[in-house]
Subunit: 332 residues, 2 copies
């Protein structure tokens, strides 16, 4: 099975690549080759039993070699995050919308009658929905995005579903919850603080909280996100019909509950939180719905989520030391 | 008030231009200039009290002069219709999606702090919905398009709503029902037969019906469509919030009822219908919902629809002779 990861240098892309390298399989199938593509170079070489090729470039001008004719699965994770797409309209459109069009055209180019079209697993987002703090969205909720990132992702979902119907590719668009805890540094996602309030105190660092403790969010762990991506790559899409997007079974939590889970894993750590209200950040993240009733995802076989305290523990196990090393911080 | 009509040579564009020329006003405002833009040249000169400029070109490469800096209202009607967008994917994407992007960029270019952004009235479609014959869709129904035309229009709606939120323009996207009775000739819209079964018999011509008599459709007349376009150009958009799309109060009818209305206006005319099932056409049109509960449109001031028999009579009054002349058919 030949796999391409677009956005392969991002944190989910790296975790996914590391998983494929470590297991050598995708579902029941042996991985026989991996291509990673990103705007920046992937940071670490992979120790894999199959050939790995790293390409660098612009997703909207995707080179043919990123999705060669024998590609079976494309993970399309390349994105400009929410606050950045809000700040730079052209860049957001280019990466988040025209990037998806480039993926469609690449798959269409290699489509041939006797062959299954490539599976494309696309990371969409709950930012495609409005609704806000009080919403609890059913699977048939309408997408009324309140930011450019969400509008671009929702438009890309439409194009990928249509391309699936036409047989250019076989898409599954995952509307990912906000992923916590992200490793590395704060980034330009408006939701960056939701990871920072766990990660930074565990690194012994102060961090700013731009919203109130009562702020509610729909979140999922990196472990669960990788599981969902892997499932989407091999699941039967027949039962999805023309509707290729799925809301995932994340968990609805609040900042207060997250800090409680943090203190459970590292007592007193939440003392490093500084309350610094930021109306611009709040305006973006408060438009995102804080709860979903994700029934369809369960029917389609997506795994349920683990409790919040396990999410904090998983970050400590999987990412704390690497993040510390990457950022040149002393061991505590 | 300076007005641009994109797709000005199409049948709605021509009716709209003729209305503006005839009345000289748009709502309470005097029209002081009109630009029409189309891929083909507009067929007839307009007798107007204001300057009219006709431009010809590709909507996806919209020239600056089509939307000059003093533009107040843009009617964006340029489209590749459903069956054609299904047959030619690249053309559909270019006109229906990239065309909308070109309109956004043109409006953004002329946006300036002290000035209202231009109102953009966009013709979206009920083809953005799935649901089919049995659906009766509420205003919060989700768009799951079953054809490329619908996917492209839905994606364009998302981009226009986002551009409105950002202040590049001030969009109202009208999800038009199938318009009957269209003048002229059959076209490549999958729904072309819904006009042909009224128009062709009134011209004394046989016509093919590709679906069963029980086929249900959500329709609106050209008169009502023009009224809605005019209302959308001057209405207050404040109450729309970030959701700039509206389902309109068309009427739900069946082929059988349409033929009954035809016979009421011209007894025996329905004898010219030939039942010729066409599974490809049926597959497209049967995916479109046949009924809506369009409450929001009424709240926003869009006029209710007249009865079906009036639609047939209006075609006879407004368009029958011109269509006969255009097609070189003898008077009956």
């Amino acid at each position: 099975m030949k796999v391409t990861i677009l956005g392969g240098a991002g944190f989910l892309g790296r975790k996914l690549a590391a998983h494929l390298a470590g297991h050598g399989r995708l579902g029941e199938n042996q991985v026989s080759g991996l291509i990673t593509f990103d705007f920046v170079d992937s940071p670490a070489p992979l120790d894999a039993d199959f050939p790995v090729r790293r390409l660098q470039g612009d997703i909207a001008a995707l080179p043919d070699e990123a999705i060669p004719h024998d590609t079976d699965v494309v993970f399309h994770l390349a994105a400009v995050v929410s606050a950045q797409a809000e700040a730079d309209y052209d860049l957001g459109m280019r990466v988040n919308l025209h990037g998806a069009e480039a993926v469609i055209n690449a798959c269409r180019r290699i489509a041939s009658p006797g062959r299954q079209p490539p599976r494309v697993v696309f990371t969409s987002s709950i930012a495609t929905f409005g609704g806000g703090q009080d919403a609890k969205l059913e699977d048939d909720a309408r997408q009324v995005p309140a930011n450019s990132y969400g509008a671009e992702k929702a438009a890309a979902e439409l194009l990928l579903a249509d391309a699936s119907r036409r047989g250019f590719l076989d898409a599954v668009s995952l509307r990912l919850p906000t992923i916590v805890v992200r490793p590395g540094r704060p980034n330009r996602a408006a939701s960056s603080f939701l990871s920072a309030i766990i990660r930074e105190p565990l690194l012994g660092l102060e961090t700013e909280l731009p919203v109130a403790d009562a702020f509610a969010a729909w979140v999922a762990s990196p472990r669960r996100a990788v599981d969902w991506l892997l499932h989407a790559a091999v699941m039967d899409t027949e039962s999805m019909g023309i509707d290729r997007s799925v809301n995932l079974p994340g968990i609805s939590t609040t900042v207060a509950h997250m800090l409680q889970a943090l203190d459970e894993v590292r007592p007193g750590a939440s003392a490093l939180i500084r309350h610094t209200p930021d109306p611009e950040i709040a305006a973006i993240v408060e438009s995102w719905p804080a709860a979903f009733e994700a029934m369809r995802a369960r029917t389609l076989g997506f795994a349920a989520h683990e409790p919040l305290v396990d999410v904090v523990r998983a970050f400590v196990e999987d990412d704390l030391e690497a993040t510390r090393a990457e950022r040149g911080l002393p061991r505590q």
